[in-house]
Symmetry: C2
Subunit: 767 residues, 2 copies
């Protein structure tokens, strides 16, 4: 078993599995994503979401509100299914190839994460009894982001004759919609309106504009079919079909290669067709093998920078690698894009960016590819004006409030109690900025851009919060746990606000000391008085504590509610949100996901270990993990508390969420944040990394399910590798200057290598 190749063998026409595999085997590069649909198509009645997406490329669709109160958004951005360049139908000696016909002798799909391609292999016997081997190789190029390629090989096994390829390039596409599931889009109108459809020698071009957003794009497709004896190009009203006939011989593969280039107006300006054609011509100049090599070269660097290896459990290693690869496939690499909840693997959550990026994905990139992390923060900087505007709509005269879900910055959440009310997103953005800064030491970026975000979000907390009874309080917000909405002093929110306010002051002082304050001061008009008020509010922030139970209550009335009747809730009633009115759910102590527990993970110094432990035990019993963002956090905190068995259980749960489709909605797209969570499960969970103001902290541990794990991270200009074995952890400096770090609370200076014995059996005496 190769832990860099996801392989599935055997064909199933189970509907849920077909859709899940479209997501699992999608190919993307952060700019472009193509779902892993079958090139030859599906018969009537089989559901497939045939999508090709460009990150941050959207339409604006109406979002009617049942009662449109003041400030409710009535339109939203939705990622667009741009065109169809993946369709190729194949006729084998007069018989159309289809997996839903004839006999499948063997079938496999592979996602090769070192090569960066997806391969489908079929050994198929036609209804008339002719056996053929077909191979489909698909790649979204990391080297030329707009490029997507498909290579088809057809090898007759026991016959010779005519093979006909029909390669489709179509603008007649629409988005998927499911009005019954609030987590999926419901736009039913046509978003892509084709403008020009033309072909020029072997290149076909479709230009289109998007119905309401004013954006436009072009796709250019070139097909190479070296052995063609006939080639014909047919223009349809909204598509071009290129047909090729090949005289195939038994035992000899015939080949067709399709190059599709997608250029949008957000990146390529007003004439994306020109760029698409230029890039396509460039793509066609090199044989596909050369593009494969470049892809492999890019990925070699990627895997080296992560350096994540597991010994002794290839399956677990594969799941981890799969996760990291998906993060790379999903992450935007330019100023207008971030990471959609489903990456570019599907239309779930409509291509929107949430807090997922900052809290679940930025940590991985900060530690391994800081330039990408910086870009993700830069996306928030670019959309700061929209966040300021959003704050005004929400009633605040000062500061910025990031939208709960958005593509281009404006709020797209139609239901504010579990949308705009999640003010914690401000704290999340700042947490990501601070973590990036602590790892990268990139003070210039703080001075030039990020400090502005930190000051503006801090101002918002000052406006939303208020002093009462000697403490600073934040009323009427929703924490991460969407099963309890619109509460006062949500622990997670207040902890994040405290961190945000404290760091606004810290950055102010750091920039002042480095004489780099002027730019941000000019832009924001920030004053020393404001900073003093920030510090005072941070110090006085109410972090609720319940004396009786010795835990942090999730909010100021949470513990007064009844506990949900788990014993009498049938399994089929999960996730609760699909089976109960939100008002009913709100009336109980039941959590969709980690909330206070997540706060304890990221702000561990705000409480004693004993409080965190008791809180963990309390919340674990009432958390359903109906959110995909939950298990990984519970795993990390279990590891922190020395509960290695439990930690490994949650870690495994989050590892296999999409691979086993445990939430039954992988078909809508992969749960990208959860992959960040599995990475954190290893690095922050088992290795116990924490990045604090005064340096790095580790508490390495080894659960029974593992024998050895290894990962690399960048810290300032250094590159460090951590290897953990059954009884010891080794920290090795691979590049750069010496750094200091703490292991189990003891300080070390890492110059070359440090070896530390694993501490087995965490002290539970506080419990």
């Amino acid at each position: 078993m190769n832990s860099y190749v996801l392989k599935k063998e055997g064909f199933s026409c189970d509907q849920e599995e077909l859709l899940a595999n479209e997501s699992l085997f999608h190919t993307a590069n952060g700019y472009l994503g193509v779902r892993g649909c079958f090139e030859e198509g599906y018969p009537e009645g089989i559901k497939s979401i045939r999508g090709e997406y460009i990150n941050a490329f959207y339409d604006i669709v109406p979002m009617p509100q049942a009662e449109a109160l003041y400030g409710f958004p009535t339109q939203k951005q939705v990622i667009v299914n741009t065109c169809d360049t993946q369709s190729i139908s194949i006729e084998l000696d007069g018989e159309p190839f289809s997996l839903f016909n004839g006999t499948i002798l063997s079938f496999s799909r592979e996602l090769d994460m070192k090569r960066g391609w997806s391969v489908r292999r079929v050994l198929w016997v036609s209804p008339k009894g002719k056996t053929t081997e077909l191979t489909f190789v698909r790649m979204a190029s990391f080297d030329m982001l707009p490029l997507f390629t498909i290579q088809v090989l057809v090898e007759p096994k026991d016959w010779s004759g005519l093979v006909r390829f029909s390669s489709l390039h179509s603008g007649e596409v629409s988005n998927y919609s499911n009005p019954d599931d609030p987590r999926v889009g419901d736009a039913t109108h046509r978003m892509v309106l084709t403008d020009r459809i033309y072909s020029d020698s072997s290149i076909s071009v479709i230009t289109a504009h998007i119905a309401s957003s004013g954006l436009n794009f072009a796709s250019a497709v070139g097909v190479s079919c070296p052995e063609a004896i006939e080639a014909e190009c047919q223009k349809e009203p909204e598509a071009i079909v290129s047909q090729y006939a090949v005289n195939a011989l038994a035992g000899k593969p015939s080949e067709l290669i399709k190059y599709a280039v997608h250029c949008d107006s957000r990146r390529y300006g007003d004439d994306p067709a020109r760029s698409a054609v230029e890039l396509l011509k460039k793509a066609l100049q090199s044989p596909v093998e050369e593009w494969y090599q470049r892809q492999a070269g890019y990925l070699e660097k990627f895997w080296n920078s992560a350096g994540l290896e597991i010994e002794g459990d290839e399956s677990l290693a594969l799941s981890l690698h799969f996760g990291l690869f998906q993060l790379l496939q999903a992450v935007g690499k330019d100023a207008c894009s971030s990471i959609a909840a489903k990456g570019l693997s599907g239309e779930g959550y409509e291509g929107h960016y949430f807090w997922d990026t900052e809290m679940y994905v930025v940590p991985f990139f900060s530690l391994t590819m800081p330039e990408i992390a910086k870009n993700l923060i830069n996306y928030r900087y670019e959309t700061l004006p929209q966040a300021q505007q959003h704050a005004r709509i929400m009633g605040h005269q000062r500061g910025a409030l990031y939208a709960w879900r958005t593509i281009q910055g404006e709020e797209c959440s139609g239901y504010y109690p579990s949308g705009s009310a999640q003010y914690h997103i401000n704290g999340d953005v700042v947490f990501a900025i601070v973590q990036y800064y602590l790892v990268s030491k990139d003070i210039s970026f703080i001075a030039e851009k990020a400090a502005e975000i930190v000051f503006e979000t801090a101002r918002l907390w000052m406006d939303v919060g208020s002093w009462h009874d000697g403490s600073f309080r934040i009323n009427c917000v929703t924490g991460p746990d969407e099963y309890t909405c619109l509460v006062n002093n949500n622990y997670y929110t207040n902890a994040g606000a405290k961190y945000n306010l404290a760091w606004a002051a810290k950055f102010y002082h750091i920039l002042e000391d480095s004489q780099m304050l002027r730019l941000v001061q000019e832009k924001t008009g920030i004053t020393k008085d404001e900073i003093d008020a920030f510090e005072k509010a941070a110090d006085g922030m109410l972090l609720l504590f319940d004396e009786e139970r010795g835990i942090n209550p999730q909010d100021d009335t949470f513990l007064e509610k009844e506990i949900w009747d788990f014993a009498n809730t049938p399994k089929s009633h999960y996730p609760l949100l699909l089976h109960y009115h939100p008002l009913y759910i709100n009336r109980f102590q039941v959590c969709k996901q980690a909330d206070t527990v997540l706060a304890h993970f990221i702000h561990e110094d705000y409480q004693t270990e004993a409080v965190m432990r008791r809180s963990y035990d309390y919340y674990e019993k009432i958390t359903t993990h109906d959110s995909s963002l939950s298990s990984c956090i519970f795993g990390i905190m279990a590891a922190r508390l020395g509960e290695q068995e439990k930690a490994f259980h949650y870690f495994s749960e989050s590892l296999n969420m999409d691979l086993d489709n445990t939430h039954h909605n992988t078909g809508d797209g992969l749960h990208i944040a959860n992959f960040g969570g599995t990475y954190m499960g290893l690095v922050y969970g088992f290795a116990g990394l924490r990045i604090k103001d005064d340096g790095l902290y580790f508490r390495p541990s080894m659960p029974d399910g593992l024998t050895t794990y290894r990962f690399r991270f960048r810290y300032g200009k250094s590159l460090v590798e951590v290897s953990v074995k059954k009884s010891r952890a080794v920290f090795r400096m691979l590049e750069g200057e010496a750094i200091s770090l703490q292991v189990y609370g003891k300080a070390y200076v890492l110059e070359d290598e440090i070896e530390v014995q694993l501490y087995r059996g965490i002290d539970n005496s506080e419990r």
Copy 2:
């Protein structure tokens, strides 16, 4: 001045005033309502809401939810603008009559509340200089509910010549919509689909079905124009135009009378056209004067039963009479109808029934026309199955939860935080039942129907509430004050639930003692154990009290919030709901309307006077009265606390709300509940009536603005008149047996007459 005639003189083409007058001069009878539009129509660019409505006659329209979470209604009922029978255009010697052309020498509108008609008089000079007097008399008959009549008199003053009437009967109508105001409907599609349009001698008939509700109706119109020299009937695709020409002579009025009958399938079965034609023929058999007489007869009884007179201030008397008349015009008189928020005067709130009925209107009818009050409760009984279904949707396995807004019983609120979350509606329905029972002593109705409501609503409180720390609590609901949503232990809600639970137990015991329990026991399966649990919960109900301020907090975190910055809120920012996001408003101590203060009014025995007084003072400062349901309650409580001047101020405010269009939305329809509130302002406010388990309580008072007031009420089989003068109150038995009552806490038996000196200067020592 006649205090039974509302008269407005002079013509203004101010848009807001034109619309407000359409509401103020509408004619209705509880079944049918016609807005007071000009028969001859309006020029392009002038907004008019030309509506004719049948109470409880609705379409079902989609209510798209931006995010359709579990249980969110996605369709709603909407009252239908059924047809146009009020249009009559008039040509005077070749010139079309229009108020927006020529010269108006005099103009007046009158609503004669003893005759039950509305009159418009115009003295008009045509562009060519010809003067004509036109009179329009409109009536919605109380004697034949489907009948609406218009009598037109045209008298040339200085010319003789041809007068041409064109009477329209049209099915081409649509509802008014304003997508920018959440308080108005937004349905833009065609609801009325005409089926048959035909005329038969002098009768025209239009039958139509309603697009989605499956209901249908027919209107039949007959026109009488005795002096016509020409009569012609023209059929258009969706209308019939009847034209009449009259040779008019200077100084002699020519007349046209239009009889329109509206029958719907909810009352008249599957062939409403047959009923409409039959009724119209019956109507035409009597001269219109006879219908006027019957109308006056009906109203004589009505005014006698209310017996409400004010001496010394005719204008105030007029406002009060106007209010009572509107209650009569609005109230449904059959099992499927209740009182829409705007009655039948407009489309605001889409013809929906709210808690307005029970808390603001039932008191008047219970005291004066108990059969109508009983019918209003009966409407709740008929829709109990929908309330049970609604409870299931909201997650409750037992009990019934009445919809926040509805016509036919199903929830039509698209925004649950200020809709379905207002569980207090259950307590409101029960409060009305108990008040009706205490006044009428109608135990049979309790046994047959109402007890079922009381038990089922009590069961809901048991399901929604829970015991914590020794008290029974109700979490996550919204009280009447919609500026603070989704809170725990809202004082008003808990007080209402306590009353509901306690009365469920009381009714159980009363019925048991009267051996009338069996029927409701069979229907509900109610047990003694349940009753015990009800009593325990009622006794243990948490009624929040703040030691520091000595007041009842509106909910368990209300007093921790900042007080709204009233000083820096410009007048133009009221009502706040149209200028701030609800989440922002929720974060402050600011009340849209009476909440705790309303609870103190209706449950005065739950607190000491001192607590009520301090609470009043506290809440008064932070209440905007953005709701039309607020001022009247503050007035009543001010009177209760001996603040006569303040009481009179609020009383006046609520008296003139629609007459002066102080909320600037009278054009959408009249604020019907507020009229009930003005009645209560006098009877419960100044006269200090309270109806309790052990009898009637009075605390008569006389504010400076009044000299004498008088009203009658029924109590059991008795009819009592109360007259209050500057220094004394007289209670007079007009009919029936002796009753006992308390005045200023002293018990009396009223056999014939009691005279009590007014107590001046309430003891403020507790303050």
